[in-house]
Amino acid sequence: MEQTDSALAGEPASPLLAVRGITKRFGSFTANDCVTLGLTQGEVHALLGENGAGKSTLVKMLYGLLAPTEGEILWQGAPITLPNPNAARALGIGMVFQHFSLFDNLTVAENIALVMPQTVKLNDVPGRIDQISRAYGMGLEPNRPVWSLSAGERQRIEIARCLLQDPKVLILDEPTSVLTPQEAEKLFETLDRLKAEGRALLYISHHLEEVKRLCDRATILRLGKVVGTCDPRAETARSLAALMVGTQIAEVRAAGAHALGKERLVVSNLDAPSPSLHGVSLKHVSLAVKGGEVFGVAGVAGNGQSELFANLSGESLAPRADAILIDGASVGGLGISERRARNAGFVPEERNGHAAAPDFTLSENIVLTGHGSNGLTQMGFINGAAARAQSQKVIAAFDVRKSGADPLARTLSGGNLQKFVVGREILREPALLVINQPTWGVDALAAATIRQALLDLCARGVAVLIISQDLDELFEISDRIAVIHTGELSQALPARSVTREEIGLLMAGMPGAASRPSESAHAP
C-alpha cells in the first residue's frame, strides 16, 4: 500500500529485481520492446496482457531461460546475467509455470527432488513436502505418481516445488486457473503470507478480478511494449481489460429468449469404473441437455471431469449402451467416430496432443475429427484441398492468428489453437457439443470469442455441455449448472438463481447445499 505512490510515479525506490529497457527479438519478430519493470520486496506485481503480448518471453528472461537481446536485468541494483534457471534459482528466483514441466512416471516427491540441491536426500523430501503441503493446505500425497494426478493437483506440485526452495522472488504464471474459488482464496492467503514475509511476487493472470483482489501494482503489456502501469484496485476489471486489448471488449450477449428443444443428450445412471488405479470412477451420473441449452459441469480438477468427458465422447465406452442417448439413440457402446456420425462434436481439455496433433499442420488437424464427413476423404484418400479449404474457413470465422499458410499446430499460441479446435467442431454444425475447459489458459479476447460462439451455437438449437473449472465462465453462459465431486454429479441448478457460494460448497463436497429443494435436474 505504502508503495502505491511511487509505484504510480514509475519505478519504486529500491527494487529487488528489475529489468531496464529490455528488448528480445526472435529473427525479425520483436517479442519484448524496451520493457522496464521493477519488483519490490513485499509487493505483488501483476503482469497483464493478451496471449502473445510478450509476458512469457519477459518472465523466461527473468528465469534464465532466454537471454535478452538488449537491456539489462538488475538484482538489488546490480546488473546480472542469468545464463540458465539454476543461476536464477541460486539468486532466489522461483517460477511456477503455466505448462507443467513434470515427469509423468515419477512420483510427486521424485519430481520435486529433481530440482532440489543434491545435498538433500530423496528420503527427506516426502517429509518436507508434507510440511509445505500442510502449511499451505495443498493436500499433496508425496508418493503418488504424477500420471495419476489431475491438472489442478499438478499445478499445486509446481507451487510446492517453488516454495520448498524458499524463493525471494516468485513468478506465478496463471496459478489459479485450475482451482475452486475456495482453493484460490486459500492460495491468495498463502500469497499474502509470502508477501508479508517480504518476498516479491510477479503474478501473471487473465482473471482480472483476482488481480484486483491480490496485486499492489499492475504492468500491462501489449504487443511487447509496456502500455501502462496502474494500481489495479483503483481500476475496474473492464478498464483493465480494455488496456490489455487496446479496444473495448464487447460483453458476451446473453442467449436471449429461445425455446428449448427436445433432449439431445441424456445420461442415465452411468457407472463407469476408472480405467486407472488413481483415476476417478463415475457413480450413477445422470443428466439431460436439451437443444438450445448450455449445461455447465463445475468441479475441482481431478473429480472425474476427464472420465466424464471420455465416456460422453466415446473414447471410453460406457458399460451399458443405453446409459448414454444422443437424440434418443443408445450410443453407450459406440466409439467416438460413430458418435460424431450422429452429429455430436467434442473438444477435450488438452489442446496439444489430444484435441490436436502438435506436429501436424492445421489442415491435417481438420481431418482428425472430420475424416468421416464433409467429403474430406474419398476411397481412403485424403482430399487435401478440401481439408485446407475447411481449415481456412475455421481460421477466418474464428480469427485464428498464425504464421504461414498451413503451419504446424504446435506453432500457434494457446488461445489461437483453442479457437481453432473449438471452431473446427462448431463449423461441423453439430447437434450436440461436449467441451471440456473451453477457455483454459486462453486470453480474454479469445475467451470472449469462444463463449460467444457457444452461445450462438445454442441459439441455433444445439445442446451444449461445458465442463469447466472457471465459475465466472459457467455463470456467464450456462442455463443450468451441476457440480461433479469424486465422480458423482449433483442435481443441476438454474444458473440464474444459484449462488457462487452454493456451487463452491458443492465443489468442496459439502452436503446440505445439494438438498436445495427447488429445481431438480429434470426441470424445466
Partner: protein, 362 residues
C-alpha cells in the same frame, strides 16, 4: 562442466536435409581413421569403397541387386517406426519369407507340379508366399504387443535367431539336396522359379524393379491416404489418434503386416533372383542394415530409396576392399554401425543446439 541441449526455436528444412549428409561425411572420416590405424591408406580405401564400385557396370548392377532388399525392408520398417512400433526383427521376417517362398521352388524342382497348369504361376506364387511368410512371422511380435503388451523390440529381435536356426536346420535336414555330396545346400531352383535377369550376362534381375515401385507406393500412402495419416498420427500423438476415432492396435498390426510382408518379399526376391537355392544363411544382415537405411532416409520412402543405394555401395565396396586391400569384412558392418550413430546424432543436432556450460552446479 557439462553439455546441455537446447531445442532450436524453429525447424529448418535445409538443416534436416544436411544432417544425414553431414553424418555421412563424419562417418567416412571416422572410417578413414580406423583404416589408418590398421596401417592402410585411407585414401585408397575411400577409392575402393566409394569410387570404384560406381565406375564399373557389373558393380553398379551389384549395387542395385543389394539395394533391393535394403529398400524393400527399409520402406516396410518406415511404417512401423512412423507409428512408433519398433520392429527390430526384419532379418527374421526376411528369412521366413525366403524360406516359405523358396519352399515352392523346392516343390517345383525338376518339373514337379508343372504339368497341367504350366509354370507361369510359380514365380508369382513364390512372391506371394514370401510376403505371406514374412507377414505371418511379424504377426507374432505384433499380436504379443497389442494383446499382452509384450515389448516388440525384444520379441522381434529374438525371433531373428529362431528364424536363422530354423532355416539352418531345414537346409541341413529335410531340405538338403540328396545328391549334393552332403553339403548343407538345397537343390537349385528350376529356371521357372528364378527371377529372370534383365540383361544378358548381367546380375540385374526382375526383382530389382520392386524397390522403386514399393518406395513410390509407400510415399503416396504416407502423403495422401487416410491409412498413412493414421500411421503417422498414432506415432506422433497417440491420444489425438484415439480422439480421432482411430484404432491404434489395428494400426500397429497393419504396420507390422506391411513391414513383415515387405521383408518377406525381399527374402524371396533374394532367394529366387540371386541365390537361386536355399542355403543355411541367406542374408548378410540385410534386415539389420535396413534399420540404418530407414533412419538414414529419415523414414521417408524416397529418402529410404536413396539411402538403400548408399548402404548397398558400402556392401559392394566392402567386398572389393576384402579382395583388393585384404580389409576384414566386419569393417563394413562396423562402418554401418558408425554411420547409424552419426545419423542419430545428426538428427538430434538438427533439432537441438549444443552448449557447454562451465562450472554450473545443479
Amino acid at each position: 562442466m557439462r553439455l546441455d541441449l537446447y531445442a532450436r526455436p524453429q525447424r529448418s528444412t535445409l538443416r534436416e536435409i544436411l544432417a544425414p549428409i553431414g553424418a555421412m561425411i563424419v562417418a567416412i572420416l571416422i572410417g578413414g581413421i580406423v583404416v589408418a590405424l590398421m596401417g592402410r591408406s585411407p585414401l585408397e580405401a575411400f577409392d575402393v569403397y566409394f569410387i570404384e564400385p560406381l565406375s564399373q557396370s557389373y558393380s553398379l548392377q551389384a549395387i542395385a541387386v543389394k539395394a533391393t532388399p535394403l529398400i524393400l525392408i527399409g520402406v516396410g520398417l518406415a511404417f512401423c517406426y512412423r507409428a512408433n512400433y519398433w520392429n527390430i526383427g526384419a532379418e527374421g521376417q526376411f528369412i521366413a519369407g525366403g524360406a516359405l517362398g523358396g519352399w515352392l521352388g523346392l516343390l517345383t524342382h525338376d518339373g514337379a507340379l508343372q504339368g497341367a497348369l504350366g509354370s507361369w504361376w510359380i514365380l508369382p506364387a513364390m512372391m506371394i508366399l514370401g510376403a505371406l511368410g514374412g507377414l505371418l512371422y511379424a504377426m507374432i511380435p505384433a499380436l504379443l504387443r497389442v494383446w499382452l503388451n509384450v515389448s516388440e523390440i525384444l520379441t522381434s529381435l529374438m525371433l531373428v535367431y529362431v528364424a536363422q536356426l530354423g532355416l539352418d536346420w531345414l537346409v541341413r535336414g529335410p531340405w538338403k539336396d540328396p545328391s549334393g555330396h552332403n553339403l548343407p545346400v538345397s537343390v537349385v531352383f528350376d529356371p521357372v522359379a528364378q527371377l529372370p535377369v534383365l540383361f544378358e550376362d548381367g546380375s540385374l534381375h526382375l526383382g530389382v524393379l520392386l524397390a522403386p515401385i514399393a518406395a513410390v507406393i509407400a510415399a503416396v500412402v504416407f502423403a495422401k491416404t487416410l491409412f498413412g495419416y493414421q500411421v503417422r498420427l498414432v506415432g506422433s500423438a497417440p491420444k489425438a489418434a484415439r480422439f480421432g476415432g482411430f484404432n491404434d492396435r489395428a494400426i500397429a498390426v497393419a504396420a507390422f503386416a506391411i513391414s513383415g510382408g515387405l521383408a518377406g518379399l525381399a527374402g524371396v526376391v533374394e532367394v529366387s533372383g540371386k541365390i537361386q537355392q536355399l542355403l543355411p544363411s541367406i542374408s548378410p544382415g540385410y534386415g539389420f542394415s535396413a534399420i540404418i537405411v530407414a533412419f538414414l532416409g529419415r523414414l521417408s520412402p524416397i529418402g529410404i530409396f536413396i539411402a538403400g543405394l548408399v548402404l548397398a555401395l558400402t556392401f559392394v565396396g566392402g567386398e572389393d576392399a576384402q579382395i583388393a586391400m585384404h580389409l576384414p569384412g566386419d569393417l563394413t558392418l562396423a562402418f554401418q554401425g558408425v554411420l547409424l550413430i552419426c545419423v542419430l546424432a545428426a538428427d538430434v543436432l538438427a533439432r537441438y543446439s549444443l552448449r557447454l556450460t562451465m562450472g554450473a552446479k545443479s
